[in-house]
């Protein structure tokens, strides 16, 4: 037993240490309880009544939630998550047990908060904010909620993990944060409120739609966020006045690169956006915001993200390089949303890209091909034929047609001219022309340079908006119907099947020609006899306008379902490479339900699809019109049967697209051809020409 004795002797000093530690544990425990006592009087329970059950497939919490009293007059702040269901009525249970009706004063979609007002004649115990300077990582942090038990707050204890998270908007903590305490306070050991607990999705600068439930999947994970109360109090008067506070936008794109190491250089400026109004230009380097030096894109976000729409920023830019570089001081007022992008229009229809090599249209090759051109719509005028023959015109972009009444028409550009420059930018592809024009707005005026018969012309034009009409056949150059007739015969339908997919697609291919064909995907009823009929009817248009007609069939004979979407997306990819489709002429179309599916497909596949043609199909109710994007131009063609009962609905949808800046076109067809599944000849021809004109600019 000498062994044991030895241990006892050794342990004597440890014993007193343990005692001290235990005493410290008790003191800490007492301090936490005292802090909770101080803060808990400002924590209320909130009940909501009515509203939706689900948001984007996620079932919304139905239980009581938490809020924090921030003024004696009854202002209460809570997490936007708690109001995602958009309740019809709100009840607040004050800490003294009284129930009060409350109304939403406003939302803050930058910090994911909601401000409530309860009707009260009593002075309410407002939370005391903790000074930001006193909050440091490692400090005790206690999260309070009132969802479990109205009589007693719930408590989770941890530390402050980090400051200035979410680009300077939130404190990070390791306490358990979840729907049980969203809207409740994160307090310090003195019982002062450091912040309001909210779910926030980490690092998602590009997310356009602010989803109030984003980040809630990280509940109880050791990563929680709280919006500093001092930041909320700083804007609360304005919040009450303006009701809703929004994230502030500049309206610029940045040159791509690692955001933590790449300098913020403006890649493009959204027309009419705050940055455009302040005079920013592509190529400008952002040097400082409100006097704070900016080295990286992340630095820039830290300066802009905490601000709201309506805030003014003093931004210093550096423009130009080397000795010519100059500093420019600007003042920019952040906007809630960017004005819809309106595609500017010059009035030029470029030559169709050459077959098999659609991206790089080399003018020399195009010229060589011209004499061999045997398609109807590419008939060559004498004048341009002469130019092609001399073989000297290798620069610029060949003009196939001029839109009647367009700025180009007014300025005197003609078919056969070659466009050399827009502004001072050399142009020899459609891509370059669009890139140049997308930085402009309708109404802007600019200078063009073109070449005609060896002479350079300088023209001044004022840009218009993309037109709504479809070009007449005559505007495209007289179509040689006889030639088309010569190509017609028995249409040969072929079948395309994708590996591992049960669906099949039938297609009709135009005869090989000099220019890349367009693609018309028709989402029909999927019956093969219809495909035969379709092929017979569409053959002329397909030959004349060089279109591949692709008619996929749904997996389920009952019709199209959402499950077919993946198949269609893959089919489009396959078709694009299989036939070397001209990327500016990929169109999905359909009638009725097929048209609605075409909308769904087009709005999801905007990188690929350039046009959607819907026959008697309103926009599906589940779809919203997304923001227009200059780089993913999507043209909308609505074909409506005369006196269709759906007409008012369809026109309303079309207006929505037009308001958002999309190029929309409407065709009203006469409804006499009953029983015929597809369109009448005139409408088919118009649809073909619409596709033919999709690369206009």
């Amino acid at each position: 037993m000498r062994f044991l004795l030895l241990i006892v002797i050794c342990l004597a000093p440890f014993g007193s240490l343990a005692a001290a530690q235990a005493e410290l544990d008790d003191l800490e425990q007492g301090a936490i309880a005292a802090a909770v006592d101080v803060a808990e009087k400002s924590v209320v329970q909130i009940r909501t009544i009515g509203g939706i059950d689900q948001l984007e497939g996620q079932t919304l919490a139905q239980g009581p939630t938490t809020g924090l009293i921030i003024s004696a007059e009854g202002l209460i702040v809570s997490s936007a998550f708690n109001f995602a269901q958009q309740p019809t009525s709100i009840l607040v249970r004050l800490p003294d047990g009284k129930q009060r009706a409350a109304r939403i004063v406003g939302r803050d979609d930058n910090r994911m908060l909601v401000l409530l007002q309860v009707e009260t004649f009593d002075e309410l115990p407002a939370a005391e904010p903790a000074d930001l300077a006193s909050i440091r990582p490692g400090n005790w942090a206690i999260a309070l909620g009132r969802s479990f038990n109205p009589e007693e707050v719930s408590v989770s204890v941890g530390v402050v993990s980090a400051l200035r998270r979410m680009h300077g908007r939130a404190i990070q903590t390791d306490v358990n944060v979840s729907a049980t305490n969203y809207g409740g306070p994160l307090i310090d050991l003195q019982g002062r409120v450091m912040g309001i607990l909210v779910p926030m999705a980490p690092q998602s600068p590009g997310a356009a739609e602010a989803n109030v439930t984003a980040g809630s999947e990280f509940y109880d994970s050791g990563i929680g966020f709280a919006i500093p109360l001092v930041d909320v109090l700083a804007v609360v008067d304005r919040w009450v006045d303006e009701q809703d506070l929004h994230r502030g936008l500049l309206g610029i794109g940045l040159k791509p690169g690692n955001p933590h190491s790449t300098a913020p250089i403006v890649a493009n400026v959204w027309p009419r956006a705050p940055a455009a109004i302040a005079g920013w230009r592509a190529g400008d380097r952002i040097v400082a915001v409100n006097g704070v030096e900016i080295a990286t894109q992340t630095d820039l976000r830290f300066q802009t993200m905490p601000h709201y729409a309506g805030d003014k920023l003093q931004v210093t830019l550096r423009r130009g390089a080397g000795a010519k570089a100059k500093r420019i001081e600007t003042e920019v007022t952040l906007a809630k949303e960017l004005p819809p992008f309106l595609h500017p229009f010059l009035g030029v229809l470029p030559e169709r890209p050459e077959n098999g090599n659609e991206a790089d249209v080399s003018p020399a090759d195009a010229a060589n091909d011209k004499p061999a051109d045997d398609t109807a719509e590419n008939e060559v005028t004498d004048e341009s034929a002469g130019k092609q023959a001399d073989g000297e015109e290798i620069e610029g972009l060949a003009i196939r047609a001029i839109w009647p009444g367009s700025p180009a028409d007014d300025a005197g550009l003609r078919r056969g001219d070659r466009l050399l420059r827009i502004g001072d930018k050399e142009i020899d592809s459609v891509e370059q022309a669009l890139a140049e024009l997308n930085g402009k707005s309708p109404g802007d005026s600019l200078q063009l340079a073109a070449r005609r018969a060896g002479e350079e012309l300088k023209l001044q034009v004022a840009l218009a908006e993309l037109p709504k009409n479809v070009l007449e056949a005559a505007d495209l150059g007289a179509g040689d119907d006889a030639k088309v007739d010569g190509e017609l015969g028995d249409p040969t339908l072929q079948t395309l099947k994708l590996p591992e997919m049960s669906q099949t697609a039938r297609y009709l291919q135009p005869p090989s020609g000099p220019s890349a064909p367009g693609l018309l995907v028709w989402l029909g009823e999927g019956k093969s006899e219809t495909a035969e009929a379709m092929a017979a009817q569409w053959q002329r248009t397909c030959v004349r306008d060089r279109l591949v007609l692709l008619m996929p069939e749904p997996a389920d004979a009952g019709g199209w379902t959402n499950d077919d979407m993946e198949y269609l997306a893959r089919l489009l990819q396959t078709a694009g490479s299989r036939w070397q489709i001209d990327p500016r002429r990929i169109v999905v179309a359909g009638q009725g339900k097929g048209g609605q599916l075409a909308y769904a497909l087009a709005l999801r596949g905007r990188k690929l699809i350039r046009g959607v043609a819907a026959v008697d199909s309103p926009l599906p109710r589940t779809l919203e019109v997304p923001e227009n994007n200059p780089n993913e131009r999507l043209a909308i063609l609505a074909i409506e049967t005369q006196n269709s009962p759906l007409a008012p609905l369809i026109r309303k949808d079309l207006q929505k697209f037009a308001d958002a800046g999309y190029p929309v076109t409407q065709i009203v067809r006469r409804g006499e051809e009953k029983g015929d599944a597809t369109l009448d000849g005139a409408t088919r021809a118009k649809l073909g020409r619409w596709i033919d004109g999709l690369d206009r600019f």
């Binding site: 062994f3 044991l4 241990i7 006892v8 342990l11 014993g15 007193s16 240490l17 343990a18 005692a19 530690q21 235990a22 005493e23 544990d25 800490e28 425990q29 936490i32 309880a33 909770v36 009940r47 909501t48 009544i49 009515g50 509203g51 059950d53 079932t59 919490a61 139905q62 239980g63 009581p64 019809t88 009525s89 009840l91 249970r93 129930q99 009060r100 009706a101 109304r103 009707e119 909620g145 969802s147 479990f148 038990n149 007693e152 707050v153 719930s154 408590v155 989770s156 204890v157 941890g158 306490v175 358990n176 979840s178 729907a179 049980t180 509940y219 109880d220």
Partner: protein
């Protein structure tokens, strides 16, 4: 089963283990009251056992945790599929392994008491009778073999946190509501993960506070819960299980009335309940009913019954049903953004004194007119809608209750 020789060996080893652990010795009186966190963890770990049984397929773990509750080898754990085997293995902190028998189960709390065939009677154990209660904010330890991290004589895992809340358990597993609805300790440690059920929740002195439950999601938020059932909620049940009894399902926890009050009794017709959360708007008020006399109106939103929030039609029906048919019922409605409280008197007393706690601001003038108007319209338009049913119900009630001798004016 351990062979006798093995057991002797393991006894010897465990004696060594104890000897090498000074804090287990009782020879340090000055600091006995203030033990360190380390001591508390070690002390609790010795009283927690690893349980191995059925399972092991399709995401069902074949292990859980239990706690020793007697020196003779009684083990408390959760009742689960893991126990559905004849070869239920229990491994003590010192590594000894036994095959346990099930003495009794409590299907409401989903608990089971096992007995280990031990011959010594000096096992370290939690004393249920001497277990303290915890408060919200108290620092706690969850001690269990979660994720089966520990094997053999390895001590089980300890997690620290605080008691977040003490609240009735409102939880579900999949689509099934949990059987137990009593109070639980909600903790802010990730305590209830696979294998943790049956583990101990102890305070920083190592004293047992509760038993960690199975993995459940909150019905209110859908979030996973971390919780333990407090000792006082199961101490009586454990006693009967130890005596080999299977506890009968006596979970009459919802205070249902014997002769429940209905909305018809007070003359309220809610809007048709078509959604899970149909807001409880009053569709119409039956003429001459308690609701009409109190001044309730169509389109009032009925948000509180007896102070309990009622966010849906179903919640109103449930809350009203907890009152007896002869009880007054206190309700609050939202009307034009104002919260107004009323007390409804189920009995149709033709009293000349209408001052039965009416609190509506302008009841006297407006209410009678409106309820009249409602009554003229409703029965005519919808002959078999609720108003007439409601009348029937209240007539029934009158008949029924007049037999128990209450004097009330009939007709």
């Amino acid at each position: 089963m351990c062979a006798p020789r093995d057991r002797f060996l393991s006894l010897f080893l465990s004696a060594l283990a104890v000897a090498s652990f000074p804090t287990a010795l009782t020879v340090m009186p000055p600091i006995a009251a203030a033990r360190s966190l380390h001591d508390s963890i070690r002390d609790a770990q010795r009283k927690v056992v690893k349980i191995y049984g059925a399972g092991g397929v399709s995401g069902l773990e074949a292990y859980q945790t239990g706690i020793l509750i007697s020196a003779e080898g009684h083990v408390l754990t959760v009742q689960s599929y893991v126990l559905d085997t004849d070869e239920l293995g229990v491994v003590l902190d010192d590594g000894r392994k036994f095959t346990a028998d099930i003495l009794g189960v409590d299907p409401v709390r989903e608990l089971a008491v096992l007995k280990l065939p031990v011959e010594d009677d000096a096992l370290p154990h939690f004393n249920l009778a001497a277990s303290p209660a915890a408060k919200v904010g108290d620092r706690v330890l969850a001690v269990s073999n979660l994720f089966n991290i520990a094997g053999g004589d390895e001590p089980v895992s300890a997690l620290q946190g605080v008691v977040s809340a003490i609240s009735p358990l409102d939880a579900r597993r999949g689509s099934h509501q949990a059987n137990y609805h009593g109070n639980v300790y909600i903790v802010d440690a990730a305590a209830n993960n696979p294998g943790a059920a049956g583990g101990a929740l102890v305070n920083w002195r190592g004293e047992l506070l509760g038993l960690l439950g199975k993995e459940l999601r909150s019905s209110a938020t859908g979030a996973w819960l971390h919780y333990a059932i407090p000792v006082d909620q199961f101490v009586a049940s454990v006693e009967s299980m130890e005596n080999g009894q299977t506890v009968a399902d006596s979970a009459a926890d919802s205070p249902k009335a014997t002769d429940p009050l209905s909305l018809g009794d007070v003359g309220i017709v809610l809007v048709p309940d078509i959604l899970p959360r149909t807001p409880p708007y009053i569709d119409s008020v039956v003429d001459d009913s308690a609701a009409a006399r109190a001044g309730l109106r169509p389109d009032d939103l009925l948000v509180l019954v007896e102070g309990e929030p009622t966010a849906s039609c179903a919640a109103v029906v449930d809350q009203v049903g907890r009152r007896e048919s002869f009880d007054d019922v206190r309700i609050s409605v939202l009307r034009a953004g104002q919260l107004i409280e009323f007390t409804l008197n189920a009995e149709p007393i033709e009293s000349p004194d209408p001052a039965n706690e009416q609190q509506g601001p302008d009841d006297e003038n407006v209410a009678p007119d409106e309820s009249d108007a409602v009554n003229r319209d409703e029965p005519a338009d919808e002959p078999d809608a609720e108003p007439s049913n409601a009348e029937d119900v209240s007539v029934d009630n009158r008949d029924g209750s007049s037999t128990d001798g209450n004097d009330r004016p009939v007709e």
